[in-house]
């Protein structure tokens, strides 16, 4: 009888602690300028903008938002801006499709230089010219590279379409 009570107590304790253990997950920010917001809503106050690779502790999951804490701040992040990167040499990302194959994990060095690589490479341009590509085709690629949408424009676009952070 005494033993049965103890078992029950341990079971209850485990159930109570489970959410706590689950909330201790570490996730990582996938792209710089990811918003940390006061509430689980795209329209709530932006507490700070997180840099790519920042580790966050996930405390709660609510729909498309995760409540996270990082650098002494607690706030909400749109869940698909985060990635559950495994420890070095570990398993797949927090992406459900990873098990279906092909998950590519983010590489910190890639982005650092990724954002600084601009324009058609001279090698590409020389080669294209050598092979008889027209000025129009080369210029078209250069125009393509310089065309940008501003973050606030994209944000408005998502809000209008009730997409991303604004989706229901």
């Amino acid at each position: 009888m005494h033993q049965s009570s103890l078992t029950r107590f341990l079971l209850v304790l485990t159930i109570l602690l489970l959410p706590h253990w689950a909330s201790a997950e570490t996730w990582y920010v996938k792209k710089s300028s990811t918003k940390l917001q006061a509430k689980a809503s795209a329209r709530s106050e932006v507490l700070s903008k997180l840099q790519k690779g920042t580790a966050v502790k996930v405390k709660k999951k609510a729909g498309k938002f995760f409540q996270v804490s990082t650098g002494g701040k607690t706030g909400w992040v749109f869940r698909f801006k985060l990635s559950k990167k495994a420890p070095a040499g570990g398993q797949a990302d927090g992406d459900v499709l990873a098990t279906l194959g092909g998950e590519q994990k983010m590489n910190a060095r890639e982005s650092a230089s990724g954002s600084s690589i601009r324009g058609l490479s001279p090698i590409s341009e020389q080669h294209a010219r050598k092979k008889g590509a027209t000025d129009e085709s080369i210029q078209a690629v250069k125009n393509m590279e310089t065309f940008k949408v501003r973050p606030e424009e994209l944000d408005r676009f998502l809000e209008e379409g009730k997409l991303g952070e604004y989706s229901q």
Partner: protein, 339 residues
Amino acid sequence: MRKNNLKIFSFSFFCLGVFGLFVWAEPSYAFNLDGFLKEVEKSSQPQAQPKKEELDIKVQEPPQQQSSDGGGMIGLGQSLGIFDKKTSNILKQSVNTLQALQPIAYKEEKAIGGRLAVEVFSRYGGNYDDPELLRYINLVGQAVADVSNRPDIDYHFAILNTEHPNAFATPGGYVFVSIGLLKMIENEAQLAGVLAHEVAHISQKHALQTLERSRSLQGVSSLTLAVMDKNPGMFDKLIDEVSNVLFTKGLDKNLEFEADRYGREFAYRMGYYPGGLQNFINKLGKSKAGGKSIFMSTHPSATARYSILKKSWSRYQKASVYPVLEKRLLSALKRPNKS
């Protein structure tokens, strides 16, 4: 007995040589070995594990194993009678494979992708000039790229001036969709699905995976801009090979199925109705124009793609109510609203 002693001596000498080679080749070689082990994993599990990227990797030169006259330690092994010619060739091939496996870094990826992007404009009608529509395509494309598995690179979207319904992606972030395809699209969810399929090819590095196994890169331990610059012949072959895969032969069908699955997933993450891609594939498969589409001819059949996507639909059941945004697409394309 004497002969045996000679063989033992020769073999020890060979092993010492191989050990020396490893020490001489130092860290970059160790990295290649890691790459090789991953490649072995890859072969048993085709769409494999995450890759490491190196942005500042040196060329391994001059690799003794590259010599075609049986030089290097393996050649020595052959001449000493330790290996027969066949074994020696297998070993040489393995060493070459080891050297070809260093993942291609982003700046090189972008150089290859940029060159192929020029090729896309040259082959498929050039640029379609409509800045307003281009902005719309970029907004939809950027939205799905932001929730992809590789949101941290720049993506560029363009419209091709051809009536054939085409869509392409070249490495490094270049995505193309033809005006002919846009005319067939019924709503923004379908467009998001198509663009996300192309983004998935880039985020999963499908063309690069194919390239890294390419024969034109045999004997090259890492493909840097300097190597490309010094070997224009190799760069020629490489571009020809990827062009052939992207524009004629098509990627491996499993990579296409994977791009479909990820494409749908990215559209779903962004909050679009996730059935957009499969509905468009179905429509294109049934249309006459679909037969002239590279988007179809270089891909597995529409029926196969549609049925594979349908099989794994259960995850998206609850997202059936997500918006398709038909009006917004019609307005961007300046088409009359049906309602």
